[in-house]
Symmetry: D2
Subunit: 336 residues, 4 copies
Amino acid sequence: MIRIGLLGAGRIGQVHARAVASVPMAKLIAVADTFTKNAQLVQDQYGCDIRTIDQILLSDDIDGVIICTPTDTHADLIESFAQAGKAIFCEKPVDLDIFRVKACLTIVQEENATLMVGFNRRYDPDFQALRASIDAGQIGEVEMVTIISRDPAAPPDEYIKRSGGIFRDMMIHDFDVARWMLGEEVNSVQATASVLTDPKFGKYDDFDSANAVLTTASGKHCTITNSRRASFGYDQRIEVHGSEGCVSAENHHQSRITVATTHGYTRPPLLDFFMNRYIAAYAAEIEHFVDCISSGTQPRTGGHDGLMSLALAEAALESVRTGSAVDPKDMLPNTK
Amino acid sequence: MIRIGLLGAGRIGQVHARAVASVPMAKLIAVADTFTKNAQLVQDQYGCDIRTIDQILLSDDIDGVIICTPTDTHADLIESFAQAGKAIFCEKPVDLDIFRVKACLTIVQEENATLMVGFNRRYDPDFQALRASIDAGQIGEVEMVTIISRDPAAPPDEYIKRSGGIFRDMMIHDFDVARWMLGEEVNSVQATASVLTDPKFGKYDDFDSANAVLTTASGKHCTITNSRRASFGYDQRIEVHGSEGCVSAENHHQSRITVATTHGYTRPPLLDFFMNRYIAAYAAEIEHFVDCISSGTQPRTGGHDGLMSLALAEAALESVRTGSAVDPKDMLPNTK
Amino acid sequence: MIRIGLLGAGRIGQVHARAVASVPMAKLIAVADTFTKNAQLVQDQYGCDIRTIDQILLSDDIDGVIICTPTDTHADLIESFAQAGKAIFCEKPVDLDIFRVKACLTIVQEENATLMVGFNRRYDPDFQALRASIDAGQIGEVEMVTIISRDPAAPPDEYIKRSGGIFRDMMIHDFDVARWMLGEEVNSVQATASVLTDPKFGKYDDFDSANAVLTTASGKHCTITNSRRASFGYDQRIEVHGSEGCVSAENHHQSRITVATTHGYTRPPLLDFFMNRYIAAYAAEIEHFVDCISSGTQPRTGGHDGLMSLALAEAALESVRTGSAVDPKDMLPNTK
Amino acid sequence: MIRIGLLGAGRIGQVHARAVASVPMAKLIAVADTFTKNAQLVQDQYGCDIRTIDQILLSDDIDGVIICTPTDTHADLIESFAQAGKAIFCEKPVDLDIFRVKACLTIVQEENATLMVGFNRRYDPDFQALRASIDAGQIGEVEMVTIISRDPAAPPDEYIKRSGGIFRDMMIHDFDVARWMLGEEVNSVQATASVLTDPKFGKYDDFDSANAVLTTASGKHCTITNSRRASFGYDQRIEVHGSEGCVSAENHHQSRITVATTHGYTRPPLLDFFMNRYIAAYAAEIEHFVDCISSGTQPRTGGHDGLMSLALAEAALESVRTGSAVDPKDMLPNTK
């Protein structure tokens, strides 16, 4: 039985608590949250202890922790728990500052700790089926990837301010998917961004609409399109074109019905909340984390993936600023 | 060059005139219509002669005729032109009276005439692709056929009165498709019918909504569903389930766009007129007629098909009246 | 907290145990199974007691039971637990003998017991969305219903022998859906059936391919198509045509990807197991049962629904035997 | 009656000849081709004269010409026929050299001639329905356009050599569609390109895989993806995302059937030849040309559109060379 501690019991923390409960091999032992109400809620539903983060750090009956606290605490917590010998699952990003991320990963490496970064899309059953189709050779060699990713609506202003901007907060997921699908590191990023849906994004020095084109050494391309607004729901599409075919994954509608009337044939809008859309992915993600602890293997999405996606985000921002293509390796601390 | 005479230049006659013009090997020589305006229209567009039906009957420069006159003239015209040695394409039905059909076909046979009956759906490219998939063995042995066929709206009252009713006028097309797809004669028909869309159908002793289940000697089934009203357009679907798979043909929408909004994902309604929906089928049908004249071969849809479909319609009507399954062979004149 | 006892911990019993665990307001208190291993499995996973059925009958700490024992024990257990004042969820059918069902329901009524019959499809989210669209008036008045329902493969021989045949075992689900969608009782059933997929069905006096056409007093129709074999998975479709439109529910594919190659555009086959296909329906069904106990309301699918669906199955069988339309009311014990 | 002369009777010339024949208001008077066999073919099918280009230039009975000769003759012919007072339809491009195009358009303007450039996609019924949906306000303000355009297979080597490269030959169509959909001129182009499908493209200093991101002054984006190879057919997709929704146009499959087997649900590949895919567009295009001559109005796609699309192609090439964003206005002769 793998024994889990949950740090942070807000919205995403509760999703992970439920996921832990659904994994037969895992047990939620303790939860910590400065908001007692959140901690209480998790205790009521899953019967675990309430402890402080420091208590969990010292607990002998905890094998791994799930970090769902605010972003600016991630790196510190990762370092502490790595040094305490616990396995760590951390929601992305490790930090918004790539130098801080690099420093943190150095400690993780020194401690030989297990660190998994929460790139939930890699655990989505449809996207896994898509990747499996590529691995099975059904489309030949990967050539061009198209990712379209749109949020139903803008996040709250408080969130936008601290998010790090559309590239570090939103497109970072697509950068990770791009790396997964391309199967090769990116050496050039061109990006454009603008404010189209709401002037407030400009006020926070951010954008709401962005495109990036990634290129690898062998000439493979990936096009990413992001928007902070989609009236029809949470738009999440991947298409991979290869030498012998093309594989794509369809969006998730609210139900599978179609109503035909004099106005046409209408299917419902898309699921409009990321937790509903990725409910299966969140469960699979935590199951993978538990498996990694149990078997002593490294997670499929580790610190390096967090670092490289952040480097792509930095490169995209730099490209928007300069109008020129940028090599993401030039954004990495150690190459400067 | 195959030289064609057109008898009747109304709506469907004009469709066939255009089809003749599009077949390189054919030429429209003459048109006959008691409404001079109709004949004039065809002459203006295709540069053919205007003649009377009797003149066309005696014309040496006509190889075949296309009969688009009112239904109650079909059988007489077929007989005359068969005796005159012309190839004949006749819109369905040969006649609403199965005894008259039988008598007419006997003369056609005696004269060894070429008679093609206008079951346009057999010439639809999608339905041909569907049948080709079966012939290629993609679904194994045919087991169960599902046909759904709905008109956008009721025909005019005058039409309904003389149509022979929903089974002889509308479902007759589906009976022909059923025979084509089953590849085996039907020996049992169960049918139900009711008036749901407009009470006027009851006034004319007709129905607007009907189902039939056909069974063959080897136990294959076909289910047919008809309605005289579909708000979303001209609904024309065929699905064939076999031992190793299932093949179906999708409807034709007005365009291929999809509009996604907060209300959902909407595709346009279906084409709502049979001539638009089956435009390619009408062209292919006439091309086949011309090919048959040119090569001296028998058409894929001949008098026998017209007779058997009418027998199925009679059996369905009898089943509605009695509530019992009826063998269509018992409806054929020669078996009584 | 609603306290549940589980009678029978086989395949479907385990599905229901998991469903109980996922309902916050419910708790699985005890399980009974003559196969100790099955009971043990449930105990291990959900931490409940193992008791005998008789012990559960006498338990003060049980509010309701879920009956997943063999069909021939259903009616007796329902009667006992109704008399013991427990709420009852019973997998369909109550019994294969309509007289036995009637007698059992009389006792349920006398005891004023809560009886829910497991027609899982009524709880499927897609089918509920479909029904909600009708209730919202989106397609106007219901006119014609089309249900296509095909199993991936034949059940084991032992199962076939005791199943009561395709109409009582398989199409009974479709009869229930038909009643739900028509919103009006059926007064005429026409059915045909044959053996097409495997001669063994004939050996057991059963069929593997069947159609039924149901008609209501107001002339609404429902066409049902069943097959015991579908190479492409578990085929479960409903389409309802109304005066102002048509609503349909799509099948569940194994994933949402499409692979395009030189051979075409391919989506994966359908889910091929009823428990995967209806996993959400099973959870919602048990949640509804718990809600009914908690609020003292009658379930949406009760004993009457079980009885009427069985009457439709009997009528269909009689129609196959006689070739004539049969009124299902004539199959009900009290009307004879 | 509008009287047409056809210059060049090769593959695309024959398509246009057929289109002229299908327009009631137009008549093909003469054809010119240095390959007598091509001219003969058109004469045989449509009964027109065979003349030389010079004869057509001097013909009083010709109102307009359709130029389908090799690209390097286009500009000269446009100038001559403009000076001769004939209306001109010219296949794209006017010329591969933007200075030559500019000079030619100056003469067209001086002569006040009617010049239509063959951007066939603007006349495709599906793309017109898409644009009409935008015009009807269904998706609100246009924000982001996605165009995916892939050829089934590489053109012949001879063609590649003289084509002007993937941006001037292939993506130029997408640039025109982008301008049409954005409804605003582009002021920044970022592009990437590589050789992935066949090394021969590199040999000719060309690419087979390319992306471009276009941005307008108001911050609207368009992403274009091109490949010279798609195993599944001729891939032609447009999607426009707006403030209130998204509209897209689906590809054209070879037929509308779906075959479901144990391997999945398969639709046929796409049409794999541009003339089949755009058959309706070619007909509508010529109909528009005839309408313009008849009514004395300017065509929807004129010389300016040809020039601006070529400027976008030049900007894309420059961006590939430099890795930086390029303003297409800087590519225009008059702005240098």
